[in-house]
Amino acid sequence: MEKFLLAFLVGGAICVLGQILLDVFRLTPAHMTVTLVVAGAILGGLGLYEPLIEFAGAGASVPICSFGNSLVNGALSEAERHGIIGVLTGIFEITSAGISSAIIFGFLASLIFKPKG
């Protein structure tokens, strides 16, 4: 039960942050999303995001900042194995499943559904 509560609180806090970026700082939805991705990447690079996931579970792994963390983690682990070129090849290492499925399912949805306006 405690797990659920922590996930709810941490995930909710990240969403509140996003809402504040929209409402107070007047960011566009795209800018807000990118800001959260970059924040996740920085925290990941500093080694702070993984502990947050351990602490809050899905509360930290589901929001978009987790994507930034995964980008950096992939780049860092590939860099360890293959040197500097690994930074480039590793960026989409972990996230490729997410990106590919977004493209494929987006495409499939567009075949079946029509925008309602």
Binding site: L22, D23, R26, T28, P29, K114, P115, K116, G117
Partner: protein
């Protein structure tokens, strides 16, 4: 002919011979649904894109207004039309269908009155026996171009507005029975530095106020001359700002006279944030609702101040502020 600094008075009083308005499914539930000539229950109008649907709305409004005037399209000398699409494709493609010599206008949502002012000027000067003026907008096509595609699901702030899916057209004639076009005031482009494209009402309000003040000055009138003064699409937020700005200039227009097409068009359960917007907003309310009220004798003297935000998606991305313009046209119904 020139009146004051930036206005025309039409000595021959061209006639608004016939009008027609078309709308989509959301407009079919609006407060002025009964004033539409054509309503569609499909936002696509059976077309393969929103842009094609918008062009079809415009064509329908134009063809119906010509029909209601008892004319053929060959009788119309000139067609003045504008819309919000890049390169005003809705207007130009409708002009291709109609085959009437064409002036394409871009005044964003002020295009309705820009078109009516120019059509009336040409008819008044003997440049045409009949001129057609129209404009259109479509919620789907406008959201796609200016904001986010609806299916992206972006949140909208309470200052945002709902683009009207519709088109309005009017036949202006040298002679006939109908409300008369008395005069027009052409607005300056005003930019007070608002950069938020989700608060168009606040951006456009100063332009509306500038044109209203210029109109009163040029014609030496005050608000009591009119039964109704309606701005185009300021919405609730912009309308309140406009009323406030006018008050600071010492002009108080009673609430039963001063209104806004974007506030009037939708009702109760329809979630449109601050109100309606888009080229079609002032066009359908004026050529539908106000026109009918004039014919019924409920309104005698009306001033329509159509407001337009002259931004592009690119100018906004490059952090430019939003220049705005408003054009006013005075109509008068003298009875049959």
């Amino acid at each position: 002919m020139l009146q004051g600094q930036q206005s025309w008075i039409f000595a021959n009083r061209p006639v608004l011979l016939a009008t027609a308005v078309a709308g989509g499914p959301f407009e079919a539930r609006s407060a002025i649904a009964a004033d539409f000539d054509i309503l569609h229950d499909d936002i696509w109008l059976g077309q393969s894109s929103f842009e094609k649907a918008e062009k079809k709305l415009l064509e329908e409004a134009c063809q119906t207004s010509i029909q209601k005037a008892g004319l053929q399209k060959e009788d119309i000398q000139f067609f003045f039309s504008g819309d919000l699409m890049n390169q005003i494709i809705s207007s130009s493609f409708a002009a291709r269908t109609l085959g009437i010599p064409y002036f394409g206008l871009f005044g964003a949502c002020s295009s309705s009155m820009e078109g009516l002012a120019l059509a009336a000027f040409v008819v008044n000067a003997g440049g045409a026996r009949y001129a057609l003026t129209a404009c259109s907008s479509h919620n789907g096509s406008v959201n796609k171009q200016y904001r986010y595609p609806t299916e992206y699901g972006a949140q909208l702030p309470p200052t945002a507005q709902w683009t009207v899916t519709g088109a309005g057209a009017a036949v202006v004639a040298a002679q006939g029975v109908g409300p008369r076009v008395i005069g027009a005031t052409i607005g300056r482009v005003i930019d007070l530095g608002v950069t938020d494209p989700f608060n168009m009402g606040a951006a456009m309000a100063p332009a509306a106020v500038d044109t209203i003040i210029a109109h009163f000055r040029d014609f030496n009138l005050d608000a009591s001359h009119y039964d109704l003064i309606a701005t185009g699409d300021l919405g609730k937020v912009g309308h309140a700002i406009a009323a406030d700005l006018l008050r600071r200039q010492g002009i108080v227009i009673p609430e039963n006279i001063f209104t806004d097409c974007g506030v009037l068009i939708y009702q109760g359960q329809q979630q449109v944030m601050s109100g309606g917007s888009g080229c079609a907003c002032s066009a359908v309310v004026t050529y539908g609702h106000f026109f009918n009220r004039m014919l019924k004798g409920e309104l005698k003297r009306v001033l329509i101040v159509a407001t337009g935000a002259l931004l592009s998606p690119l100018s906004y991305q490059q952090n430019e502020s939003i220049p705005c313009v408003a054009h006013a046209v005075a109509l008068e119904w003298e009875g049959v």
